[in-house]
Structure formats: structure tokens, C-alpha cells
């Protein structure tokens, strides 16, 4: 007892000491001073953000907290050129440089997350409660990360404990639609041992945007995230990192169809286990040995409670196992005076193995992929003020062609205030399990979708059952392996410091080829078609992004961002030029050839996106106020007039809109912070944007210890 009391007193004592010596930093600037931050995603080594030759967006913890974000999609959607949008499947994903979610890799502490719905990674799966920072590298990064890193990489970095005192926070937030968010984050660091524990519960009663349609737009759900992290320093130069993460969500999936009230749930579960041994062999050589395993499970069961007839019963179980070894060696000349030249650089290289497995409804059996990869990158300054990063990665895959992904990036510091940077890189995405192994027949309509690798066999089965009228492709067409989707991305920009401000401009272009889409491979006797996947689409996205931040005073930061985007299908553009695409004018019923100016581009792409943010600190009152305005110009959801593309005559356009988010927080008694805020203050809603409810107010109390 006495011992415990002493410990307690000691703890309290040290706590007060820490609390008193803690440097208050009320003038934290999250917008203008970011440039000194260190990020790891772009090079797999620690690099100062301002020195990187690549377009990078960094979102720090303070910005996340001040903005009152609880899920990852909310805070990312406020960044220039990063847009969350639901595609035609109804699932939400993130778009970067006009590139859809399918082609954007999501990492936690450098290891990939799996579990996508129709190619979309749902960012609302991730809580931001224990994030140190979010690093977004735009443009292809397959030279380091392999498949899926065409449009960019989003890497979520968790916080490493730093102090011997127990630190952390506990918070409770309640908001509109009975949305509740509860967080507990605990961290502690001893001499050799550090740990972090995080728990989050997030729930909502859902909402209904359209009273005329029966049922809710979003059904009630509850989810939990648990994350434990251990750090152990065996020696000064040898340390272990281990992290376990668990996510569980249960959502009511009940709905009414033909006056039957179906009942059931959608469940999601995710496990991540990540261990890494960091070994500093010499001051110049560090190695990392990493093991990673993840498992994502989604199930849905819907049944009529009276007749017990099952409407839908689906399973999805994906596993990934990935060991990787990587190292970084810094070459330096004997006398250490020279830092430029080819001989003074950092070589980063790694090899790894990736095993994927998926078992799901509409697959005959569990399918497995395996791939081996190796990458290398050299980061050096050939002359003063010029930084060059050259790298490449080779992927050998069991199911598709080997991929070689090179990348070159340069940055030149013209003077103290102006630097220019440019990069060119290759990105690819392996055909996914669905595109290769799907075997699905829609019971209501009668069409069939077959994965490419099973199409021939399944077609024969259907023919034997006399379900096939005729096959419209040759056997040869289905025998060549499906190719990986690929892109080449170009980025060119500059960074200008001007007084208390900073402006960054980046022009981008991404050329995609071999995009996989469905086509008809056979006709069925029931009048429907058999579809399979094929490489054929070529698209491009191009435009520019500008970000300007200005520190009006120590306490007042304003920033503005804008992205211009053009995203088109190359073949369709040519068809329009050749007068092969037509449109029926709804006003007079006349059919006319579509003019080139009336081709709007790809679905879900807005030409203009802009944001404007003000963050204001009042240090004397320990208060922060902020307001963020987001603008999105009109975009179309699908073709409505039968010509297979989005043109100005289509009627599925969502008009341009502005959303306004604001938050105010005040710290009192040193440890308590009260936050009041509202997202979507203008109460903008559209029945066609089911992921966006109206105004959502919230109140949050946080205890920092």
C-alpha cells in the first residue's frame, strides 16, 4: 500500500513537474510553418518536407484536432486536390489529381491496408484519434510501393511516445444524428521500453436525406478501433517496433423492398499486425526488417424476418502477408566536407514478398496471389542546390506480367525564396481478384460477370447448360493474360516564399493506359449478356494545383488552395473529333453530332476545386477559432443520354456547391479543452450525394494528461 502510495505521489509529482515545464505553444502555426516538418513517405527515409522534389501534402495532428475531424475522409477532403466522392457503385473513395480511389494506395506506418468495395477504399474506416500526421505524396509512387500507387500514396503515421510520464488524452464528443466519438489515447516512454494504447468508439444513428424514399440514407452503425504499440530498444542501435490494430464495425442493413421489411447487418472487421526491427549498423547504414499481416472481413446477411427468406448473404475475407527487408546507406567522402556530387548520396533499397489471399461470395474457391519485389533509390545532390532522386522497382507477380517502375525527381533551389521541382514516374495496378476470378450472375436481371482468368471455363459450363446463344469474342481474346493498368505521371512546380507567406504551384499530367473495363463476351438465351474484363481504356488527367498560405500575424493564418482539372477518355475524345458521337437535343428532339466543347470529361470530376481557411489563435484566452470553406464545381455522376460519355446535355450533373466547416475550442484548467463546431454550416444537401448529411453540430470535451 505504502509502495503504491509512494508511486502515486511520485507519478503525480513528476506529472506536475512536466506540466510546469511544458512549453506552451499557443502560436502553433499549422499552415505556414509546415515546411520544416519531416516526412518519410516520399523517400522511405526522413526528409524535410521543404527539400523534397515531389508534390506532397502534409496534415499534422494540430490541424486535425483544431478542425474537429474524427474520421480520415473529413480532414483529407479539406486539402487541395484531394476529394472524397462516391462512384457509381455507391461506395465512397478518395480522388487525387482526378485519379480514382482504385489507384491510390493507403498505408498505416508504411504498410498497406486492404479491403476495398468495388475498388474504393472507404477512408471513414480510419479514425484520426491517434494520428501524428498524414502524408500524401501525389503522382505515381510505384517505384517504392508497387501496385496501386498510381495516383498517389496516403500514409498515416502514428505517434511514438516520447516522455517518461504517462501522457495521453481522453475525449468525448456528441453531435447531430446522435453521432458519438469516444477516444482514449495513452502513451509512455521508459529508458528502453515505450508503449502506446489507443481505443476509439464511433457511432451514429444515421440520417435520412429523402423522406419520400423508404428507409434511411445512412443506417445506424457503431465501430471500434483498438491499437496497441510497443517499442523496445535492445541497444542504442537496435530497436523493435510492434503494432496491433483491430477494427470492428456493425451497421444495420435493413431496408424495405416491395413492402417486405428485410432485416440484417453489415459487419466489417480488420486486423493488422506489424513488427519491425530497426538496426543501425554504422552511422551510415541502417536496416529495417519488417513483418506485416492484415486480414479484412466483411459480411452481410439480409433476410425477411417473417418468411426467413434470405435476400442477400455475402462474405469477403482478404488476407495479406508481407515480409520486407530494406536498408539505407549514406555515402560520404572521407573528410566529410563535401556534400555534393554523385559519390555523396543516400542509397535506399529493399526486397520483399507479398502474399495475397481472398475468399468471397461469387468466387469458386479461395484465390492466392504471390509476388516478389525489389527496389532501389538513390538520393543525391550532383551540384549545390540541386537534389536528384532516381529510383526503380521490379515486381514479379504470379498472375500478370512483371512490372518495372522507374521514377526520377529533381529539385533546384534558385535562391533563398524560390525553388523549382519536377518529377516523372511510372505507376501500375495489378488486376484485382474480382477482375480475375469473379463469377456472378444477377438473379434479378439475369446477366453474368466473369473474371478474366475463369471466363473460358465458366463460358463452357454455361454453354453445356444451353444458356449461351453465341460467343462474341474468340478464344484467343481470352487466352492472353490480362495486363496491369499503368500510368505515367508528370509533375512540375515551384515553391515561392514571400514575406510571411508561401506559395506552391504544381502542374500535373497523368496518362493512363490498359485500364480494365467490362465488355460483352457472349449473349445468353435469356436475352442478357455475359461480361468479362478487358484492357482497353486510355484516359488522362491534367491540370494544376496552387496553394498559398499567409501568416498575417503570429496568431492568424490564412490559406487558399485551388485545383484545375481536365480528365478525359482519349478514345472518346477522338470519336467526338471524328463526328462519331451524337446527342439528342432534349429541347427539339433533333439528333446532332456532339461538339468537342460539349464533352465534359470523366464522371465525378469537377473542373474546379477550391478552399479557403482561416485559423485564429487567441493565446491570452487559450482559444482557437477556425473556418474552412470548400468549393466544388459541377460534376456528373453517370451518362443519361445513351452516348456512353458525359456531355453537357446529360442530366446527372450535381451543381457546384460550397460547404463551410467551423470550429472553436477553448482550453481551461490547463488540461481540459472544450470544442464546439459545425460541419456543413450552410446545410447543403443533395439527394444524389448520400454521403453528405446536412448541418452537423458537435460538442467535444477533451482531457489531456
Amino acid at each position: 500500500m505504502r509502495f503504491q502510495l509512494t508511486t502515486c505521489l511520485l507519478l503525480i509529482g513528476s506529472y506536475f513537474t512536466i506540466a510546469q515545464t511544458r512549453v506552451e505553444n499557443p502560436t502553433d502555426s499549422i499552415l505556414a510553418q509546415q515546411l520544416d516538418e519531416v516526412i518519410v513517405t516520399a523517400t522511405r527515409t526522413e526528409r524535410q518536407l521543404s527539400s523534397l522534389p515531389l508534390p506532397v501534402t502534409l496534415v499534422g495532428k494540430k490541424q486535425i484536432i483544431k478542425s474537429g475531424s474524427v474520421r480520415l475522409n473529413e480532414i483529407l477532403n479539406e486539402q487541395t486536390g484531394i476529394i472524397t466522392v462516391a462512384d457509381e457503385s455507391g461506395f465512397q473513395g478518395v480522388q487525387i489529381q482526378g485519379i480514382a480511389s482504385d489507384y491510390i494506395l493507403i498505408l498505416i506506418d508504411g504498410v498497406p491496408l486492404v479491403g476495398r468495395s468495388a475498388g474504393n477504399f472507404d477512408l471513414s474506416r480510419l479514425t484520426v484519434g491517434n494520428i501524428k500526421q498524414i502524408e500524401v505524396v501525389k503522382g505515381p509512387s510505384s517505384s517504392l510501393y508497387g501496385s496501386e500507387a498510381l495516383g498517389g500514396v496516403i500514409n498515416i503515421i502514428t505517434e511514438k511516445p516520447k516522455t517518461e510520464a504517462l501522457t495521453g488524452n481522453a475525449s468525448y464528443r456528441i453531435g447531430s444524428f446522435s453521432q458519438q466519438d469516444i477516444n482514449l489515447d495513452v502513451k509512455q516512454a521508459f529508458k528502453k521500453f515505450r508503449y502506446g494504447f489507443f481505443a476509439n468508439r464511433f457511432s451514429s444513428n444515421g440520417y435520412d436525406l429523402n423522406e419520400d424514399v423508404e428507409g434511411n440514407t445512412v443506417n445506424p452503425f457503431t465501430n471500434y478501433t483498438l491499437n496497441g504499440r510497443l517499442y523496445y530498444d535492445f541497444k542504442d542501435n537496435l530497436s523493435l517496433f510492434a503494432s496491433g490494430r483491430f477494427y470492428d464495425q456493425n451497421q444495420d442493413a435493413g431496408f424495405t423492398l416491395d413492402s417486405i421489411q428485410y432485416q440484417g447487418d453489415t459487419k466489417e472487421q480488420e486486423w493488422n499486425a506489424h513488427t519491425r526491427l530497426d538496426h543501425k549498423w554504422t552511422p551510415n547504414l541502417t536496416m529495417a526488417y519488417e513483418l506485416y499481416y492484415t486480414n479484412y472481413i466483411a459480411t452481410e446477411l439480409l433476410a425477411d424476418p417473417i418468411s426467413t427468406a434470405i435476400l442477400s448473404d455475402s462474405d469477403f475475407n482478404q488476407k495479406l502477408f508481407r515480409p520486407e527487408v530494406r536498408g539505407s546507406y549514406t555515402f560520404s567522402s572521407e573528410n566529410n566536407t563535401e556534400t555534393t556530387g554523385f559519390q555523396n548520396g543516400t542509397l535506399t533499397a529493399g526486397i520483399g514478398l507479398q502474399l495475397d489471399e481472398l475468399d468471397r461470395t461469387y468466387f469458386d474457391k479461395t484465390v492466392n496471389f504471390s509476388s516478389q519485389y525489389a527496389y532501389a533509390q538513390y538520393d543525391f545532390d550532383p551540384i549545390e542546390n540541386l537534389n536528384v532522386i532516381a529510383g526503380a522497382r521490379f515486381d514479379n507477380h504470379s498472375e500478370y506480367n512483371n512490372q518495372f517502375s522507374p521514377k526520377l525527381a529533381l529539385r533546384y533551389q534558385l535562391n533563398d525564396n524560390l525553388s523549382i521541382k519536377g518529377s516523372i514516374g511510372y505507376g501500375f495496378k495489378a488486376p484485382d481478384f474480382r477482375q480475375l476470378y469473379f463469377d456472378f450472375t444477377n438473379s434479378a436481371v439475369g446477366y453474368t460477370i466473369l473474371g478474366y482468368n475463369v471466363a473460358l471455363d465458366k463460358l463452357k459450363e454455361l454453354e453445356e447448360q444451353d444458356q449461351i446463344l453465341n460467343v462474341v469474342v474468340t478464344e484467343d481474346d481470352l487466352s492472353k493474360p490480362l495486363g496491369a493498368e499503368s500510368s505515367i505521371g508528370y509533375n512540375l512546380g515551384f515553391n515561392l516564399k514571400h514575406g510571411r507567406g508561401n506559395t506552391e504551384v504544381n502542374f500535373f499530367r497523368n496518362d493512363f493506359k490498359n485500364l480494365i473495363d467490362t465488355r460483352i463476351i457472349a449473349r445468353k438465351t435469356n436475352g442478357q449478356n455475359v461480361f468479362s474484363y478487358v484492357n482497353f481504356d486510355e484516359i488522362y488527367t491534367t491540370g494544376f494545383e496552387i496553394n498559398s498560405a499567409y501568416k498575417l500575424s503570429n496568431d492568424l493564418n490564412i490559406s487558399a488552395g485551388y485545383q484545375l482539372l481536365y480528365a478525359f477518355d482519349k478514345q472518346k475524345k477522338q470519336d467526338i473529333k471524328d463526328n462519331q458521337v451524337f446527342v439528342r437535343d432534349p429541347n427539339n428532339g433533333q439528333t446532332i453530332a456532339l461538339s468537342q466543347t460539349d464533352y465534359f470529361g470523366l464522371v465525378n470530376r469537377s473542373r474546379h476545386n477550391a478552399n479557403f481557411k482561416i485559423y485564429y489563435d487567441i493565446p491570452t484566452a487559450k482559444t482557437n477559432l477556425n473556418i474552412r470553406l470548400l468549393y466544388r464545381s459541377k460534376y456528373a455522376q453517370f451518362d443519361t443520354n445513351g452516348n456512353g460519355l458525359i456531355d453537357n446535355y446529360d442530366s446527372s450533373f450535381i451543381d457546384d456547391f460550397v460547404t463551410v466547416n467551423a470550429a472553436a475550442s477553448k482550453t481551461f484548467y490547463n488540461n481540459f479543452t472544450l470544442q464546439v463546431g459545425a460541419n456543413n454550416l450552410l446545410d447543403y444537401t443533395d439527394n444524389n450525394i448520400p454521403t453528405m448529411p446536412g448541418i452537423q453540430g458537435y460538442l467535444k470535451l477533451n482531457y489531456q494528461f
Binding site: N442, N470, G527, G644
Partner: protein
């Protein structure tokens, strides 16, 4: 439309006046017509076996017919048959006893001025001359959420009829009363509305 009829009438008069001297069977004027709400139901579908009589259309009379021989096009659901070639094998289909054919041309209805030089296809075992399926023959099916069936703009069907005349056809709508923006949940199907231009002079390929 009025303009078209005037133009046709003018052309017809001009043509008639030219050919009066050397031909004692004056050419008949080219007919520009719209057929509205041709009802072509089918049974089954949605995964069940498809069946039901086709609704047959004859360009010579410009009307629906029940004749087993004097028809050119026949409609059932989204399927269109032509009276030429062989039976495809689908249930309840009409016997092909004519020599009609169809050429699918890309353009506006007005831009197709002649049937000269086109190659005409006919129905065959397991294959319709006007292919079935979305984005393949005459329509696009939007899928969820709208589920709308839209005729592909710019697909013109040039028809050689059973009598050896030529017609060009543009399908306008699959929904009753051809709403400009149909609602797949509210508007009734299958009601074909199509525009056509028919040259009643046997063997003449011109549409002007």
C-alpha cells in the same frame, strides 16, 4: 418536322416535274414519318425464359401488322428482328420469309442520304442483325441507380424492306410518350417511338 415535310413536298414537286417528261409512272414522294408508342411486350425476362409474340411493323403501310409475310421489322422488349435471313432460335419468333436486311450506320437521320454502297445484314441462327444487349445494338442500359434504357444517339438503321424499298430509321425512345428524361421507375415500357424516312419507289436508294 413541318419544315421537313415542306422540304419533302418541295423536292417531290421538283422531282415530279423533272421526271414527268420521260416517265409515265411518276415517282411517289419520299415519306417522313414518326411512329409513336409501338407496344412490344415480352414475357419472362429478369432471369426467366423470354417469350411472347413480336410486334411487327410494315414500312409499306407505315403500320403495325399481324401478317406473317408482309412485315419488315418486329419488336419484343429490347429485341428487334428483321424479316430476312433465318430464325435466331428465341421462343415465339416470327418465321423469316422475306429478304429484308439492315445496315447500321453512324450519323444523324438527315445525314444519311442514300442506301447505296451499304452492306445489309440479316438475322441468323443465334444472332440478330441488330445486335442485342446494352451498348451493342440500339440502346444503352444505364444500370443503377437510374436503370434507364436510352437509344444510342447517332445509330441509324438503313432497312431494305421485304418489297425491296429502302428506309432509314432512328429510334427515339423506349418509354411511353417518349419523355425527354424518362424515369425507369415511373414510365412504362416497352413503347418504341421512332422516326423514319421511306422511299416508296421500289429499288430507289435515295432518301432525298
Amino acid at each position: 418536322m413541318t419544315k421537313n415535310i415542306l422540304a419533302v413536298a418541295f423536292l417531290a414537286v421538283a422531282f415530279a416535274s423533272c421526271s414527268n417528261d420521260d416517265d409515265n409512272t411518276p415517282a411517289e414522294p419520299i415519306q417522313t414519318e414518326t411512329v409513336s408508342n409501338l407496344y412490344a411486350p415480352q414475357t419472362g425476362g429478369q432471369g426467366e425464359a423470354v417469350g411472347g409474340e413480336f410486334a411487327k411493323f410494315d414500312f409499306e403501310t407505315g403500320a403495325i401488322t399481324t401478317s406473317d409475310t408482309d412485315w419488315d421489322l418486329a419488336f419484343r422488349g429490347t429485341t428487334i428482328a428483321i424479316n430476312g435471313g433465318a430464325e435466331t432460335g428465341t421462343a415465339d419468333e416470327p418465321v423469316r420469309n422475306g429478304d429484308a436486311g439492315v445496315a447500321i450506320v453512324t450519323g444523324t437521320l438527315a445525314s444519311i442520304t442514300t442506301a447505296d454502297g451499304l452492306s445489309f445484314n440479316q438475322d441468323a441462327d443465334a444472332a440478330f442483325a441488330i445486335p442485342t444487349g446494352s451498348d451493342n445494338g440500339w440502346y444503352n442500359y444505364a444500370g443503377p441507380p437510374s436503370h434507364v434504357i436510352t437509344p444510342i444517339p447517332g445509330k441509324i438503321f438503313v432497312i431494305r424492306t421485304t418489297e425491296g424499298n429502302y428506309a432509314k430509321v432512328e429510334i427515339i425512345s423506349y418509354y411511353e410518350n417518349a419523355p425527354a428524361e424518362p424515369d425507369a421507375f415511373a414510365d412504362a415500357t416497352p413503347y418504341f417511338t421512332f422516326n423514319y424516312v421511306y422511299n416508296p419507289n421500289i429499288g430507289e436508294t435515295s432518301f432525298e
